[in-house]
């Protein structure tokens, strides 16, 4: 059974990819989907409950929550992809070097990974942000810089097993150099697990971004993000439940969506789970 057949039969994976696709479309067409300008303040309509004109209600400045969430999806996606991109890039390069060369290169890189894993990631991010301006770019890079260790371990494990395969020896016998073997011969064979790690990583990055924004050190207002809508929700939770519920649900569904997709890809690629 091939990858797609298995994937199609996996209802959860399909649900996950549906959610992810929907988020992509939302982000791509945000200017057309959002009913209002996300920054448009309407002080006559502060904290209006959900109605036909404002489906998800308005916030403490009278801005349309639905519009802010649609634009916030864009931010989530950006942060998710960029942060994971940074993590995958670092993780793949270090993991490939550690797994392929072995010896002290491996030891040095893996001990560095151990050291990095000793820090509680979230507090490390808080500490770094304290020194930097909390902009969306800094957030992306910092989430990426603190999230590559798992990828490194994964890629290293793949490389250790792949470097012993006959086709690697065959590649050497045709005169291919180390870099060529690492990037053109082994890496494509490790892509499957990197892809799974990336998908799951995006969910984690979105969650971290929301948490940082919620704490006020992530994406800065007035730029809308699900996390900073939640902050407003926290202040008004006794009178405006919609400010907490909808962005919370959006974060939940997004994270579940990416996780389902990632696990679906992993299950479809794992020959042992094939029936």
């Amino acid at each position: 059974m091939n990858f797609w057949e298995t994937f199609y039969k996996n209802k959860l994976a399909l649900t996950g990819s549906g959610i992810v696709l929907l988020l992509f479309l939302l982000s791509l067409f945000a200017p057309w989907i959002a009913p209002y300008d996300p920054g448009q303040i309407d002080l006559k309509n502060v904290l209006a409950s959900p109605s036909l004109s404002h489906l998800f209600g308005t916030d403490q400045l009278g801005r349309d929550v639905l519009s802010r969430m649609v634009w916030g999806a864009r931010i989530s996606l950006k942060v998710g992809f960029a942060a994971t991109g940074v993590a995958i890039l670092i993780g793949t390069l270090l993991g490939a070097a550690a797994g392929y060369y072995g010896g002290w290169t491996d030891s040095a890189i893996m001990r560095f990974v151990d050291i990095m894993l000793c820090f509680p990631t979230f507090f490390l991010i808080l500490a770094v942000i304290a020194f930097l301006e909390p902009s969306i770019w800094n957030i992306m890079i910092i989430i990426g810089l603190t999230g590559w260790m798992g990828v490194t371990r994964l890629v290293r494990a793949d490389f250790i097993s792949l470097r012993e395969r006959d086709f690697v020896q065959a590649a050497r016998s045709i005169g291919a150099g180390d870099l060529r073997i690492i990037f053109l011969h082994i890496l494509p064979n490790a892509m499957a697990s990197i892809l799974v790690a990336a998908t799951l990583g995006i969910a984690g990055a979105i969650l971290t971004e929301s948490a940082l924004s919620f704490l006020g050190i992530g994406v800065q207002p007035p730029t809308p993000s699900w996390g900073n809508i939640l902050t407003a929700g926290k202040d008004n939770i006794d009178i405006a439940w919609w400010l907490s519920l909808y962005p919370g649900l959006a974060i939940l569904i997004t994270v579940v969506g990416y996780n389902l997709l990632g696990e679906g890809i992993r299950d479809s690629l794992d020959p042992r789970l094939k029936k």
Partner: protein, 332 residues
């Protein structure tokens, strides 16, 4: 004319947690253009490590501590990693035992052949791919244009080995190392692959080193034979001499353990397959004396005391055994 490849007293060692072992221990041999040298021996006797030493591909924990490998007039052991890499796949090429796993599963076979061509020749991707189709045709793959677009898992074992050969041959090497090229294939395909290698050898005027544990393959495809045992060459000669008059008891044992009929069918031979008792000694604790001692029916005190050296008993027929003359007397 000097031989194409000449190896002198090659010693390849491996450092393991249990100590240092000599996988290849003082091997000397030579191969001329147009010749097929068969290297035969049991698993673990150092055949593959010998081939990998020539290619400069021994694993990380191994090293060559002695010897010369002269190929086309240059000592390969004195070359830099880059110089020898430029020769691999270009002037010398290797094919492996497992065609199932020696091709990269994620690339089309045409691309894999094209890669060798691009590595060593200054050709565009398009020209290299076109050339790879021609190479597939040369190794007898039907519909090469379509097969070039296939992934390795879409091809049968014999086809894949043909692809490996096409890859190895794509830059017209002068030396082809074939490490058990047919072990993973069934007998009819085995014969086809051996014929293909012989045909390509004639056509491209190259030398072949054919590594195998099967004397039948040697009889079919080689002109010269070197028999290896525990890292050493114990007998070397041409194929006819080896089968007609094996000097070393190990070679005799190997020939005797072929099914009757293959070697002419001796009437008074046992009805059942003969075997060589025992197994290859561990390279970790080699005793002084002959390495074949414990398994040898002719062993005596002299064998236990000193290790035999290669001596020439007939023109070009070398063997490393103290009792060659006694054994010959017994035979006649």
């Amino acid at each position: 004319m000097p031989p194409l490849l000449e190896i002198k007293n090659l010693i390849t060692v491996f450092d393991t947690t249990r100590g240092r072992i000599k996988a290849v221990d003082g091997v000397s041999l030579s191969v001329n253009t147009g010749e097929t040298l068969g290297i035969v021996g049991e698993s673990g006797c150092g055949k593959t490590m010998l081939a990998l030493s020539i290619m400069g591909l021994i694993p990380q924990n191994g090293s060559i501590i002695n010897g010369e490998i002269t190929f086309l007039g240059n000592d390969l052991l004195k070359m830099s990693a880059n110089e020898i890499r430029a020769k691999r796949g270009n002037e010398m090429a290797m094919i492996f035992q497992e065609p199932m796993t020696s091709l990269n599963p994620v690339f089309r076979v045409g691309e894999q052949i094209a890669e060798v061509i691009k590595l060593h020749q200054n050709l565009s991707a398009k020209d290299a791919f076109a050339l790879s189709i021609k190479k597939l045709q040369e190794v007898g793959i039907p519909q090469p244009e379509r097969r070039a677009q296939d992934y390795p898992h879409q091809l049968s074992g014999g086809m894949r080995q043909r692809v490996m050969i096409a890859m190895a041959m794509s830059c017209h090497p002068q030396l082809l190392l074939a490490d058990e090229p047919t072990t993973a294939l069934d007998v009819t395909i085995q014969a086809q692959i051996l014929d293909l290698i012989s045909m390509l050898k004639e056509k491209n005027n190259m030398a072949v080193i054919l590594i195998t544990h099967d004397l039948g393959i040697i009889a079919q495809a080689a002109e010269k034979v070197a028999v290896m045992y525990a890292g050493k060459i114990v007998e070397s000669s041409n194929v006819e001499e080896t089968f007609a008059d094996p000097l070393h008891p190990y070679t005799r044992g190997l020939i005797d353990s072929l099914p009757v009929g293959c070697t002419g069918g001796n009437e008074d031979r046992d009805k059942y397959l003969k075997t060589i008792p025992g197994s290859v000694p561990s390279l970790y604790d080699l005793k002084p004396g002959c390495r074949f001692l414990e398994r040898c029916p002719y062993a005596d005190n002299k064998c236990a005391g000193r290790e035999p050296i290669l001596e020439e008993f007939g023109p070009g027929h070398w063997a490393a055994c103290w009792n060659v003359r006694n054994i010959q007397k017994e035979k006649h």
